[in-house]
Amino acid sequence: MSAIRKDFSVTYKANIVANINTFHHIHDLTSLVLGSSSGILQLESYHGLIYFLVTNIIVTLAFFVVILSGNLKLIPKYYEKGLPGLVFEGLSRSLAGFFMMWCLTTALIST
């Protein structure tokens, strides 16, 4: 819940939810697009998995650089999660969407 911090600023739950939603939106979109691209590239087994991990981490890093302007100190305040928590959430969120589009485009192209 909201708490008063040392710098007297007050955080509100609704703002944090909106921030996390932005993060989720970017991961939803990129997971679908990257899943389709790995299907189009006809990646199979470990290559696809490595492609997923690498691109997802690139997306998360780009999020930190573009949206947070590299200011990683703001993460606990704006997301109520640490850096590893946010990276892990990005990974787990995009996993299912990536696999779905990967399977679909692979099947569509190879037939």
Binding site: F8, A14, D28, R93, C103
Partner: protein, 216 residues
């Protein structure tokens, strides 16, 4: 004792006061608000019945109260509406597309998945990567979540949050033996009482100078 949403609002008011105490402008206003909230909560001003009388009553069975019955059935209906269509669709997919191989997965799986993913395909030597419709159904079940959130996204999320916080239709089921409302209010009164007033304007000059790196 039946809890009405109004009680929750008063508790929420006290919580908001504690959260936002730092942005109240002067100490007098803070003291006034603190005094009012403490006294009102402690005296049970917001309670419908006198707490001493309510204690004598036996705890009401939530199943006998028509209001909470509706709430319980509402929750049950919400759950049913979620999992019955899933079960029906899964059964239908399994029945209608039985015996068809529909796609080749881009990743290999161990032989253990064979019985699950190649259900009703009677070839013992087929690679597990060739799967039947039910596995595509599972992949969709997980993966369509992100598609839904992209399609059904709206920008009024914050408004929704606020509305959910003030929602009136929350089920108010007071469990027998749980904390009664007057106890919760007394606890909140103590929380309000120990809040110390530290204005956000305290030492604002130093912080401002520090922020813009001006040495005095």
């Amino acid at each position: 004792m039946i809890l009405t949403p109004l009680f929750r609002q008063h508790l929420q008011q006290a919580r908001n006061f504690r959260t936002n105490a730092a942005v109240i402008s002067t100490k007098d206003v803070f003291k006034q608000k603190q005094k009012y909230l403490t006294e009102a909560l402690r005296a049970g001003k917001f309670l419908k019945e006198d707490p001493s009388e309510a204690k004598k009553e036996k705890p009401v069975n939530p199943l006998s109260d028509p209001g909470s019955m509706d709430a319980i059935f509402g929750m049950a209906k919400g759950n049913m509406a979620n999992f019955i269509p899933q079960t029906v669709i899964m059964w239908w997919v399994n029945y209608f597309f039985a015996g068809f191989v529909i796609m080749k997965l881009p990743f290999p799986l161990t032989i253990r998945f064979k019985s699950m993913l190649q259900n009703s395909i009677m070839t013992s030597d087929l690679d597990v990567r060739w799967v039947s419709s039910i596995s595509w159904y599972f992949v969709n079940l997980m993966g369509l979540k992100s598609v839904y959130s992209l399609i059904l996204q709206d920008n009024s999320l914050v408004d929704k949050m606020m509305a959910a916080q003030q929602q009136q239709g929350q089920p108010n089921i007071s469990m027998p033996g749980g904390p009664t409302m007057d106890k919760m209010m007394k606890g909140e009164a103590e929380n309000v009482q120990i809040v110390e007033f530290r204005s956000c304007l305290d030492g604002i000059e130093e912080r401002l100078f520090k922020r813009f790196e001006i040495s005095v």
